[in-house]
């Protein structure tokens, strides 16, 4: 799966869970500061991403995933 494909998949999740406009989702964007994803929604995003990409994202990793790019890199490395 390419980084673009992972980004697109995350954008779908972010739209469903938090109402984020898919066009706003890019690797440089911060989940909290740019996309306005609150902590409870982030939990939903993580669980949905695990399911969608077939990976495990432990809670102690989630705090390191500040940007969409961080998440893409983590998922890319795991899958």
């Amino acid at each position: 799966m390419t980084r673009d494909e992972i980004t697109t998949g995350l954008a779908e999740i972010l739209e469903e869970v938090a109402g984020v406009t898919p066009d706003d989702v890019a690797e440089g964007k911060s989940f909290t500061d740019d996309l306005d994803v609150d902590s409870l929604s982030m939990v939903e995003v993580v669980v949905a991403a695990e399911e969608k990409f077939g990976v495990k994202i432990p809670d102690n990793e989630v705090q390191n995933l500040k940007t969409v790019g961080d998440a893409v890199s983590y998922i890319e490395a795991q899958s």
């Binding site: 869970v17 938090a18 109402g19 409870l40 929604s41 939990v43 939903e44 669980v47």
Partner: protein, 408 residues
């Protein structure tokens, strides 16, 4: 003792009879039933397959992402509160948030969320349980959400007294204003538990009507053929305001909330006292609190849920506490029983009856019970000058709440 005058300046509701107060009131005056067949697959196995479902689903009225975080009881409380807020003209009034309170209760709470998340837990494990589960199912959730939406900072409260919840929440709102803790309180109740488990539970108590083949005729308070209540869902809120505060901003006033009386039976966890002793005391307290003559109470919106025992116990209580002059009605014959929202919706009906000088009908009262020896607006609305009116609410647990509204 003279109290701070409290008036009603806004109304909001979403009910089985309509998506707002105007449509609900029209349907009531026209004697329409909000009861229909339950069509989900899960209803097939139940002894009760009818309910009074919302006329307008909240799904189209709130943002999709927001709805994911709201129990149905919270979503409809928000809808009703926004209606009442707009109706009161408070949106751009410059009201100090620290003088705005909320008192919104629920009889059962976020049961739909609890049950749906339990299904997810059983099927997919704990990690799949939504992080929004707790704020969605907590009983104070509806009050908290209404407070959040309106920015209320004078205190947000959740009353729970089963089917007396809505009326008790309104009483608490009145008390907050009388005690000087708030100038405006959005008060009422909400309930959304049309699901197989609550229905099975009430059915096992033999409390519900099983007239599945005639849904519109199932809720029939005081009729000889009544066989239990019909579960309804909905939310009702009213804006209570200190009278001089309302006058200073030129607000339209629907009615005064003149007094309230609350008692507990201390008799049985679910059965009403057979003579309605606790209800008699609640009504007497409400009249004393309102400091009016009981003869001024020309109309009663009764609790009357269409159960064999409860309906007649209330008649005995009304006769003893008020005499035989008021014209009664049971709007649950049309709306079904909204549990924690019932006292709020019925307060709205009582307020509008006073304003419009009309008693909404009790439908399906075709063959009055022999024990019904008071005057009921049976099957047709009745015009009547109403200087003061009473709204009764009783709940499992032996809760009795009587509210007295008077003309503005």
């Amino acid at each position: 003792m003279a109290h701070t005058d409290v008036v009603v300046t806004g109304l909001g509701a979403t009910t089985p009879l309509g998506g707002d107060v105007a449509s609900t009131w029209d349907a009531m005056l026209n004697g329409q039933s909000g009861v229909s067949a339950l069509t989900p697959d899960w209803a097939e196995q139940l002894p009760v397959r009818i309910a009074a479902q919302l006329a307008v689903d909240p799904a189209g009225l709130l943002d999709r992402v927001k709805l994911r975080r709201l129990d149905r009881s919270e979503a409809i409380a928000i809808i009703a509160a926004h209606q009442a807020w707009a109706d009161a003209g408070l949106a751009d009034s410059g009201l100090d948030p620290e003088r705005l309170g909320v008192s919104v209760g629920s009889g059962i709470g976020g049961a739909l969320t609890l049950l749906a998340q339990d299904d997810i837990l059983e099927a997919s494990g704990p990690r799949r349980v939504s992080p929004h589960t707790i704020p969605m199912l907590m009983p104070n959730g509806p009050a908290a959400w209404v407070g959040l939406e309106l920015g209320a900072q004078a205190g947000v409260h959740c009353v729970a007294s089963a089917c007396a919840t809505g009326a008790e929440a309104i009483t608490l709102g009145m008390d907050m204003i009388r005690a000087g803790r708030a100038d405006v309180v959005v008060a009422g109740g909400t309930e959304a538990v049309i699901h197989q488990l609550p229905i099975a539970g009430f059915s096992s108590m033999r409390a519900m009507s099983t007239r599945n083949d005639e849904p519109e005729k199932a809720s029939r308070p005081w009729d000889k053929a009544r066989d239990g209540f019909v579960l309804g869902e909905g939310a009702g809120t009213i804006v209570l305001e200190r009278a001089d505060h309302a006058a200073a901003r030129g607000a339209r006033v629907y009615a005064r909330l003149a007094g309230a009386g609350i008692t507990s039976d201390g008799y049985d966890i679910v059965q009403p006292h057979p003579e309605g002793a606790g209800a008699v005391r609640a009504i007497a307290k409400a009249i004393a609190d309102a400091d009016i003559d009981r003869r001024d109470i020309m109309h009663v919106n009764a609790h009357a849920t269409s159960t064999p025992v409860g309906d007649l116990a209330e008649i005995k209580a009304l006769r003893q506490a008020l005499g035989d002059h008021p014209v009664l009605t049971a709007t649950k014959s049309m709306s079904g029983h909204l549990l924690g929202a019932a006292g709020a919706l019925e307060s709205i009906a009582t307020i509008l009856a006073i304003r419009d000088g009309v008693v909404p009908p009790t439908i399906n009262l075709d063959d009055p019970d022999d024990g019904l020896d008071l005057d009921v607006a049976a099957n047709k609305a009745r015009h009547l000058e109403i200087p003061a009116a009473l709204n009764n609410s009783f709940g499992f647990g032996g809760h009795n709440v009587a509210l007295v509204f008077t003309r503005a």
